[in-house]
Symmetry: C2
Subunit: 80 residues, 2 copies
Amino acid sequence: MIADVYIELKEGVADPEGEATLKALRLLGFKRVKKVSTVKVFRIDIEARSREEAEREIAEMCEKLLANPVIQKYSIVWRE
Amino acid sequence: MIADVYIELKEGVADPEGEATLKALRLLGFKRVKKVSTVKVFRIDIEARSREEAEREIAEMCEKLLANPVIQKYSIVWRE
């Protein structure tokens, strides 16, 4: 089964990559862009007996490796 | 209006970040992970009269800045 794991910054945390992208877009003439933020997605193909079991395992992956819990939050969206 | 712009690698293009993440997860004991791929998402807040107009503009942003058309493809998902 395949899950998309979204890693995004928590509210209030600065997103320098998003800000730099916004500046670059405006310099290129895209004046109507108001805000850009960045999100990282890990598409994970995992073998498990159930989604619940896989979600527990993915939560552990996020806590141990994929996300920095101080500044990031994660969410899981199943693709198949 | 807010769009999520997904930038992913085209079929057949190597994803070293995904491969390194897979290796690290396996080293940590997550043996049931079969594959990891990475996707970049730009969440763009844009002012436009219609979604069609905004999508044309976002397509131009992808071609000029956000994506590398040689190795990446993009897709747009509206959030609001």
